[in-house]
């Protein structure tokens, strides 16, 4: 059984773009009905824009501008749906492939580029309101789930959640992958989250692969079933259906913020591209599989649906043009990125004075200036 055919799945749009809610989707339909055409167009635009950016970044890597690029290609619906379900006060803890999530919350794509270019380990300041409470990428798989839980504990302790007002009650959403689900930290995050009843959504993007390892190696049982063991509600969603992803995320986030404790979502999706630009998926997966998933492309699906709802082709053209401009702008700005100052290395290792930093920074400056002076 291909996972997306699991009867328990929440799906609103069929792979061919028709409106065909699965039985499990019934309860979410009021939320879908409440979406205006504008909202759907926003979802569509989000996905197209970031796909263009993602493709651009892949090209930039090929041109030697980036050290590495992990594409979000194929996972746009899972990401847009969930992030559009967040509220402004929510905190977002991505893993490292959540380009759609980050940019939709306000992160400047160039900041992601800077990470992958080797200019910074972080990229953006999560405390800067422009970044929409988006925390930086986590490269040690699973580590971020505990940070999210800790943040959620803080929300509980501060009474910033669970008061009953969805416009001020905050929640946390943390993203992780099918591979990361095997890490001990993810388990511990669920233990703590359920112990402290954090207002938290564990959002698992099951894109079928952890580099070359299929999800079946991580688990023989559907991953969303893990949640029940902690006493946590969970839902399986078609992650290539942006409407379903939106609806389940909205419900889960609002349940969490209302004091319902942590919630789990498994979004079935597919990494349509390589793991990263260093990877060659032909080594481990069939083109049949890739083709079958190409039939479920999340952007095509929503486009077909929008067309069936009467969206004009000019809309699509506009979005394409906008996406192209967005991606071009990233290229231009990437090419204009400057370098780093060696002393940056020492500046933020500690928040407070540290003698070794002062000493080594001074040594390096002296050494480099002696060098420039010609002495060696």
């Amino acid at each position: 059984m291909t996972p997306p055919d699991d009867p328990a799945i929440v799906r609103v749009l069929a792979a061919d773009g028709t409106f065909a809610p699965s039985p499990e989707a019934e309860r979410y339909l009021p939320l879908i009905d409440a979406l205006a055409v504008d909202d759907l167009q926003t979802f569509y635009r989000d996905m197209v824009m970031v796909r263009a950016f993602d493709l651009q970044a892949t090209h930039l890597q090929r041109q030697g501008q980036l050290a590495l690029w992990p594409p979000s290609f194929g996972q746009e619906a899972a990401q847009v749906g969930s992030v559009r379900a967040t509220r402004p006060q929510d905190h977002i803890f991505p893993s490292y492939r959540e380009h759609v999530v980050a940019t939709t919350r306000g992160v400047d794509p160039i900041d992601i580029i800077r990470v992958m270019r080797g200019l910074t380990h972080g990229g953006w300041d999560p405390t800067d309101p422009r970044n929409g409470n988006t925390h930086i990428y986590a490269l040690v798989l699973g580590s971020q789930t505990l940070h999210a839980t800790g943040y959620g504990m803080g929300l509980v302790f501060d009474g910033r959640t669970g008061t009953g007002d969805p416009d001020s009650d905050a929640a946390v959403i943390v993203y992780y992958g099918d591979g990361a689900s095997s890490q001990g930290d993810v388990h511990e995050a669920m233990v703590f989250a359920n112990s402290y009843r954090t207002p938290q959504v564990f959002f698992l993007q099951n894109n079928q692969w952890a580099i070359s390892v299929p999800v079946a190696t991580q688990s023989r049982a559907p991953l969303h079933q893990r949640a029940a063991g902690y006493g946590m509600p969970s839902v399986l969603v078609d992650g290539n259906d942006v409407l379903a992803s939106y609806a389940v995320s909205r419900v889960a986030l609002d349940a969490a913020r209302a004091g319902g404790g942590p919630q789990a979502i498994e979004a079935l999706t597919y990494r349509m591209g390589a793991h990263t630009t260093s990877d060659d998926p032909t080594k481990y997966r069939t083109s049949d599989e890739e083709h079958s998933w190409a039939q479920r492309d999340p952007i095509v699906r929503l486009k077909t649906y929008l067309e069936s709802k009467g969206a004009a082709s000019v809309f699509f053209d506009e979005v394409d043009a906008e996406a192209q401009a967005y991606a071009d702008d990233v290229r231009v700005r990437t090419n204009a990125l400057g370098g780093l100052d060696a002393s940056d290395m020492f500046a933020h290792v500690y928040s407070e004075f540290h003698p070794l930093m002062a000493e080594q920074e001074r040594w390096l400056a002296d050494y480099e200036s002696a060098f420039e002076g010609g002495a060696s």
Partner: protein, 333 residues
């Protein structure tokens, strides 16, 4: 630094109690301070360091965490992101390793990763070291793992007065601090001046003046060094004793100054010697005080074996005799 005396309030109390009072003061000063750990709430910790604090501050500020060290440190990091200052207790030294990734790859590096946009005021208290006849994993001295890790500060008090002040300073620090508590000292009584701060967190302290050999160590080693110095005096050898207090950064100024004056140094620690803090201090002192030394810096340490069963800890751990043997060797150069 001369501070006008504002009257003394000197109390005698055991080391563990001084930590308890220091934590109480830190929690009273700043209501963002939380304590987290296994059995620290209702039980007050297996060494009773947090005794009474949950009753006083409530279970939202003194948390009996689920039993998972990576989880405790990882959630402390998230809490720091939410503006809290957590003091984590690791129940025993040997149980810090499950949290190692969260400490070294996360806690230590998050401020740097954020280019200073986030600070990480998390203290990790670790009862460490031997001398209590315990079973395995309850007597490790893991300082080298942490002092080798950029982004961490590592300190260890050796007296109740330092325990009282250093824990408060550690809590106040905006950087992560590994706070090593010599468990052999928990029951040692001493005077605590609650009115006036001792030396700064990262200063070393000369605890005995001397002219022939400098003895350096931290934690439970300090009283051992003092005993050795007293015995050496009987044989006409004058030892200066320095309590490191701060293991990272090491306050090299007074240490180098002393080495230059005495020309000889013995460094003592409980941890295995190979690639240890003792290696670091020895190498740096020999490099920087090169011309002033009359002998190499000699190291006395645990052997390079796993901490042995309790019945052998007396052989494993450096004692006064082994320190004196090294002093003799240093003098023989």
């Amino acid at each position: 630094m001369t501070v006008p005396s504002i009257g003394t309030a000197t109390l005698t109390m055991p080391f563990a109690k001084a930590l308890n009072e220091g934590l109480r003061a830190a929690m009273t000063d700043d209501d963002r301070v939380l304590l987290m750990g296994e059995d620290i709430g209702r039980l007050g910790g297996v060494f009773r360091v947090t005794e009474g604090l949950q009753a006083e501050f409530g279970d939202r500020r003194v948390l009996d965490s689920p039993l998972a060290e990576s989880g405790i440190v990882g959630t402390a990091i998230g809490l720091a992101m939410a503006g809290f200052r957590s003091v984590v207790e690791i129940q025993f030294d040997g149980f810090v390793f499950p949290a190692f990734d969260q400490i070294t790859s996360q806690l230590a590096k998050i401020t740097n990763r954020h280019e200073g946009a986030l600070s990480m005021p998390v203290v990790i208290r670790i009862p460490y070291g031997g001398h209590i006849g315990a079973i395995e994993h309850h007597q490790e001295s893991p300082e080298a793992y942490f002092t080798h890790t950029p982004g961490l500060r590592v300190v260890s008090p050796s007296t109740p007065n330092d325990a009282y002040w250093m824990i408060q300073d550690a809590v106040r620090s905006s950087d992560p601090v590994i706070f090593l508590e010599p468990k052999a000292k928990y029951w040692m009584k001493g005077e605590v001046d609650t009115a006036q701060r001792a030396v700064p967190l990262h200063a070393s302290r000369i605890v005995r003046r001397g002219t022939d050999v400098t003895l350096v160590g931290h934690g439970a080693m300090v009283s051992m060094l003092l005993q050795a110095a007293a015995l050496a005096e009987g044989e006409g050898v004058s030892c200066e004793v320095i309590d490191l207090r701060s293991l990272s950064p090491v306050d090299y100024g007074p240490i180098l100054d002393s080495a230059r004056r005495t020309g000889r140094m013995v460094y003592a620690q409980e941890a295995p010697g190979f690639t240890s803090l003792g290696s670091e201090v020895a190498a740096t002192v020999m490099e920087r005080a090169y011309f002033a030394l009359e002998a190499p810096v000699l190291r006395v340490s645990g052997f390079d074996v796993p901490f042995p069963p309790a019945k052998l800890e007396g052989v494993y751990l450096p004692d006064v005799d082994r320190i004196l043997e090294a002093v003799d060797r240093a003098l023989a150069y």
